[in-house]
Amino acid sequence: MFYATGFHKAALMAAKPKPQLLHKVAGTAVESSPKRARTLSTQSSMKDAFAKYAEYLNNLNDKRERVVKASRDITMNSKKVIFQVHRISKQNKEEVLEKAEKDLADVTTRHVSRLVNELQGTDFWKLRRAYSPGVQEYVEAATLCKFCKTGTLLSLDEINAVLLPLSDPSLEPLQINNLDYILGLADLTGELMRLAIGRISDGELEFAKKICRFVRDIYRELTLLVPHMDDNSDMKMKMDTMLQSTMKIENACFSVHVRGSEYMPLLGSDDPGSFLSGVPDIEL
């Protein structure tokens, strides 16, 4: 009986998060001690076993919950980085990208780092569904920043190199898997489409064309990968959206190309007055 009350006390003192379970475990211990002589051993062994499963499931669910929360924070803050990149214009390019990169570094150290401890060993794949959306958004933000800055594609190895110092050496470092990277890239084209349209209306046509070529390259490369992806249907859907985005950019570039002559002089404001100053020349 002393044992039972001790156990109960321990349960009450123990951590708050799952008092219900601990109470139940304690309850079975209290009940079973006087009864044990009479009841079959099956019942108590079954309860003992299920107490273990319950603990396992609680730990797993708590962990999953933490991973989901981290993933949501990563998504939210990566979105902010993407919005920051969209604030770009001809005049403030450096300034805007600098802030975006700072914010991105912040996401890495504050939120992505939270995943490192949770995803050790087999949990990396077990909990993939819980963290995948966040990681994809993060890939999207990182690649968008990089593209705007250098016009090149940020590779998976480069991203993973950034993630290496997040964990202390005793732990396995968090390394994004190629599936999440590819899915993130597929989402990137949507953002690039917005960026391209924005740049065209701002007169940066050369930049828009560059985006167009870049998006085509990505689409072409991903076409080859689709059948090998783990979750095929998701990727197929993304490919459709990607094609839509690519075509939107192409159509915008087409419009400018075809009607370019009509408003080009006004857009080419970096050498002002070329059109207007030219008019009198003709009249004369």
Partner: protein, 296 residues
Amino acid sequence: MNSALRNAYFIFSHSLNPTSNPNSFPLILSLHSLQSTAVSRLPLRIKRQQQPYRSPRSSSFCSSSSMAGADADAPAASSSVEKQFVDFRAQLEDSGSLRDRIRNVAMEIESSTRLMQASLLLVHQSRLAPEVLEKPKAQVGLLKSLYKRLAEILRESPGLYYRYHGDWRSETQTAVSLLAFIHWLETGELLLHPEAEEKLGLNESDFTLDVEDYLIGICFMSNELPRYVVNQVTVGDYDCPRKVLKFFTDLHAAFRMLNLRNDFLRKKFDGMKYDLRRVEEVYYDVKIRGLSATRD
């Protein structure tokens, strides 16, 4: 005609570049004359004029020059992009072939459990006899060897257990449910998780039976109980409902200790109460007619 004029306008504006050279003057003259006279000759003239008078700024608008620009940039840009994707394709093809091997074993597991299930169905047709269980139990050895093969395949890529878990998950759940049912028929007790691992040879450190799979397997087993009770009573075993009800009540109570989330296991557990009720009904029917009185 329209486009011709547009092109004319295009060249025309180009030629009015501040840095324009003396050559632009003749062009303007020619345009003036063209506007009034031979429009049809315009495209020809433009083609000839276009190249030499291209200003650097306007190059992006000009189809020929922008194509040239794209050709110049594209190989450099896409080769760095391409390299990575070639690697990805190789990696994904590797994991794809690994998955195929796993699926092949999973299919064999499936056919083995199907044989087991079919022979185990005989328990519904007569009173329980040890001989009935011989045939399904013969499959256990085969099942164990198949899981050993699976373990060997997965050992090649440590840590990836859960990446391919989905490919043999449902087969494993079925296997657990059958093993647990046989175990219960023999001993009247629940097959516990370590025992199930033992039977499937899944008790190695890096290759274990997932607890959720085990629990789902147990839920599958409990779906079988109402039918078993009904048929046992029909063939004259009137004590069966009492035993089953006792076991089932305990099992249900044990499951209620688990904090489940909204997933498949939760759904299966929620369905368990209907099976339990059915067993209770059978027990009631037998009891109220005094059929089980002799042993209760």
